[in-house]
């Protein structure tokens, strides 16, 4: 089996008496979509923060492409190949769609210290940004102000910004949230193809999408991974069913 692109090893994070992450170990292998599911409050956001660098774990390590990135900050992890989308869109609302995508391209180029010359006049950056916007279907909205986009379009832009980074792995935090069934279906098809470029760690509530996309699923409950397996394995796991039923019952 190929080496994992991303792996966590015993991530533990406590907030006072609450253990938000309790020895989480999981990995994402090349070409796969690894979904993380779990009831609200299971610690999914805390996990993503630790993977992306927004939170330091109390214990445990994060490895990216075989390199220990636990001590790196968010920006350094991004440069190392993490491409993240946010649950609640984190976009520069005053700027145009193109400018948001160019920001990603600029980050990818690693050359922000240029004080003269128009950013939008940089052909390389612009080509990359326009290309990624076209792929998510925003080619017609290059100069729209981001604040005027619909919710679905903002989600598309989130994905496009991540694409401009050409990451080695995507970390997607509930990309389907708030999309209608049409939008979800479109995005599902898109992610299905995207996994060939880079594997995806997908945190998602939309079970239809998870079951349609995921190669493997990890179930997070009270900060702990209680099961990891294929969709079929997870569907039939008594423990998972109990956790979810207990939550929902």
């Amino acid at each position: 089996m190929a080496d994992p692109v991303l792996s966590t090893d015993g991530l533990t994070k406590r907030f006072g008496a609450l253990t938000a992450s309790d020895g989480i170990s999981l990995d994402v292998r090349p070409g796969e979509i690894h979904a993380v599911i779990g009831p609200n409050g299971a610690g999914k956001s805390t996990l993503i923060h630790q993977i992306c660098g927004g939170l330091r774990p109390d214990h445990g390590r994060v490895h990216l492409l075989g390199q220990d990135v636990t001590a790196l900050n968010t920006a350094a992890r991004a440069r190392a190949g993490l491409g993240r989308t946010f649950q609640i869109s984190a976009l520069a609302m005053e700027d145009s769609v193109l400018q948001n995508a160019m920001l990603g391209a600029l980050g990818r180029s690693g050359r922000p210290w240029r004080f003269f010359g128009r950013a939008l006049g940089d052909a390389d950056l612009r080509a990359r940004a326009e290309d990624c916007l076209a792929r998510v279907g925003l080619a017609d909205h290059l100069h729209a102000r981001t604040a005027t986009l619909s919710h679905g379009q903002r989600r598309q832009l989130e994905v496009a910004v991540a694409l401009t980074l050409e990451p080695r792995i995507f970390i997607m935090d509930e990309p389907m949230a708030g999309l209608g069934s049409d939008g979800s279906a479109k995005l599902t098809r898109f992610l299905d193809r995207l996994r060939e470029e880079a594997p995806i760690l997908l945190v998602e509530h939309d079970m239809d999408a998870v079951f349609a996309l995921a190669d493997r699923v990890s179930v997070l409950v009270y900060g702990r991974v209680i099961a990891t397996g294929t969709v079929a394995e997870i569907r039939s796991s008594a423990e998972v069913r109990e956790a979810y039923l207990g939550e929902e019952g």
Binding site: A78, A92, E94, L106, F115, R118
Partner: protein
């Protein structure tokens, strides 16, 4: 609706026009007033790089204004008193050449901005406002008690410093120098805002977390913006000192920091020409209202309140409906 580009040119042409008219009509004091507006505009343009582009509400920009002023004061003081300026083993005679003074002012204020920025940018929001205010107070009290250079009394420089090929004592020529510098800095500011750095900084102001996740450091972007901003305000300080031929600790006072913010907001935050309009308006109000009543501050306060509460984009925002951030 006026295209912002034309508005920018109109404002600059207006400034130049007033000065030329005053030259022809032999009204040297009007030229001096216009020069004052130009210099304050330059300081506010500097602040606007931190405030408008970087979103850094600095209530301590008087530090850089004052440092620029003291760069001029100290260099010229040593020439005036025929005492060499000794920094450790180095002994220099001082200088009365404007370009040398400007470079010194820029260097000093950049350095201070780097130090203050490194410490202050660790905080954000209200804490950032307060810590910059505190740095301002530190410099203020230091200047007051630094008796070598006049302390509270400040330093008086009897003759305006020189610029190769010009007679700076002629108000119109000194105006020309200041106006040219303002245009240059506006041009640079315009390029800066549209540059890759400007793009990243603009995003760092709105969504720092996004900037991090594309692999850039909002801290460094803001720090660089703060340093550039400090340098421009420092340059303005040197010119202001030369205009008055005098520096004193009031250049470091927190009221001055507050007034610089007022200039920016009065004109329109984040707009290229906003601070210039703000400065012109401020100087005009100072003299028109000040001529009508000793209590003109009451009316200035009311005008400010109205702008904050009802005209968020400042004067330029009212005149030009272009949304911020396009193109």
């Amino acid at each position: 609706m006026i295209a912002e580009r034309w508005l920018n040119l109109a404002v600059l042409a207006g400034l130049l026009g007033v000065a030329v008219w005053a030259r022809i009509a032999d009204q040297p004091f009007t030229i001096t007033l216009t020069t004052r507006a130009v210099i304050l505009a330059l300081a506010a343009v500097g602040l606007n790089i931190a405030l408008g582009l970087g979103g850094l509400v600095s209530l301590g920009h008087a530090v850089f204004f004052g440092l620029g002023g003291y760069a001029m004061g100290i260099l010229a003081f040593h020439v005036q008193t025929y005492t060499p300026l000794e920094i450790g083993p180095i002994s220099i005679a001082g200088s009365t050449s404007m370009p040398v003074i400007w470079l010194t002012a820029i260097a000093l204020s950049s350095l201070a901005a780097l130090g203050i920025g490194l410490l202050s940018l660790r905080t954000s929001g209200a804490y950032f406002i307060m810590i910059t205010l505190a740095f301002g107070q530190m410099f203020y009290y230091f200047a007051i008690s630094w008796n070598r250079y006049g302390g509270e009394d400040g330093l008086s420089i009897y003759v305006r410093n020189g610029f190769p090929g010009l007679n700076t004592l002629i108000p119109f020529q000194f105006f020309g120098i200041c106006f040219a510098l303002l245009c240059l800095v506006l041009l640079i500011g315009d390029r800066l805002a549209r540059s890759p750095f400007g793009l990243a900084l603009n995003a760092a102001r709105q969504v720092p977390v996004r900037v991090e996740t594309v692999g850039l450091s909002p801290f460094r972007l803001k720090l660089v913006a703060f340093v550039i901003s400090g340098a421009v305000t420092g340059l303005a300080g040197a010119l202001f000192a030369d205009l008055n031929r005098f520096v004193s600790p009031t250049m470091f006072s927190w009221q001055l920091s507050g007034e610089l913010i007022v200039l920016v907001i009065l004109g329109g935050v984040g707009r290229l020409i906003g601070p210039v309009v703000g400065a012109v308006l401020f100087v005009a109000l100072e003299h028109l209202l000040g001529g009508l009543t000793d209590h003109w501050h009451v009316f200035l306060g009311l005008i400010l309140l109205v702008i904050v509460l009802f005209a968020r984009g400042g004067i330029v925002g009212l005149l030009s409906r272009r949304r911020l951030g396009d193109g």
